[in-house]
Symmetry: C2
Subunit: 111 residues, 2 copies
Amino acid sequence: MTGRVEQAAERLKALGHPLRLSILRRLVQGPEAGTPAGELQTRLDIPASTLSHHLATLADAGLVLVAREGTTLRYRADYGTLRALTEYLWQDCCAGGAADDPQPSPCCRRD
Amino acid sequence: MTGRVEQAAERLKALGHPLRLSILRRLVQGPEAGTPAGELQTRLDIPASTLSHHLATLADAGLVLVAREGTTLRYRADYGTLRALTEYLWQDCCAGGAADDPQPSPCCRRD
DNA sequence: GCCCTATTTCGATAAATCTAGAATTAAGTC
DNA sequence: GACTTAATTCTAGATTTATCGAAATAGGGC
C-alpha cells in the first residue's frame, strides 16, 4: 500500500545522488538497447561494486531496466517511469497542484 | 564550484522524502504569500522540531522561500527553482540529454 | 521589564546510506 | 571439468540522515 507521494519520493530520492544522476544521464544518451554495466564502470571510473549498488537502487525505484546479453548486463532508462515522475513533479509541485489548472508539460512548451 | 549535476541531485534528494514532498505540495496548494510553519505542523501532525528540520532542508536546496511576518514564518515554494529542476530532469533525463539534439524524446511518444 | 506565542537550534539516539575490497555467481569457451 | 570475463552479493566501517524532546531565540503585547 505504497501511496503516490511515497512512490514519487522514493524515485526522487534515487535520483538525488550525483553518481546515480550521472548514470541515468549516460543511459539516456546511450543506445536504446542499453549500456553494459562494464562500460558505465569504465566511463565513470568507480569500483564495480559501488556502481552495482547504485544501479540496483535505480532499478528498485523502477527508473532503469536491465537485460542480460551473454555475460554482460545491459541497463537502460525506463522512460515510462521517468515521464510519469516528471509529469507528477510538474503538475503537483510546479503547476499549482490543482488538477483543474492544466499547464503544458515542459517538453511541450517552446519558448 | 558545484556543478549542474550536483545541484540537481541535491534538489532531487531534498524532494526525495515523503514528508518533504508533502510539505512542498501543501505550500504549492496554499496561498502565494506563504503558509505559516505552525499551520503546516498542525496539518501534518508532526513535532515542530521535525518540521523545522525538513523546512530547512528544502530551503537549503533553494526549493522554498521564507519570510517573517510578526512571530510567524511563512514558507512558500520557489517556482523558479522548481521549474528549472523539472526542465532539467525532462531535458537531460527524459529527452535524450543533449540540448542540441532536436530528436523527439521517447517520453513524448504517445503510444 | 515580564509574559506569551511561534519557531528554531541543540543534543542525543536510532536508522539508513555510501563506499569499496573480497568472495561469489553467471555465462560462455576450450 | 577448468578457465576467463562480467557483474553481483557479501561484509564492514565511515558518514549521513531522521526523529524528537528540551532549551533557546524572535517578536509582539501588557
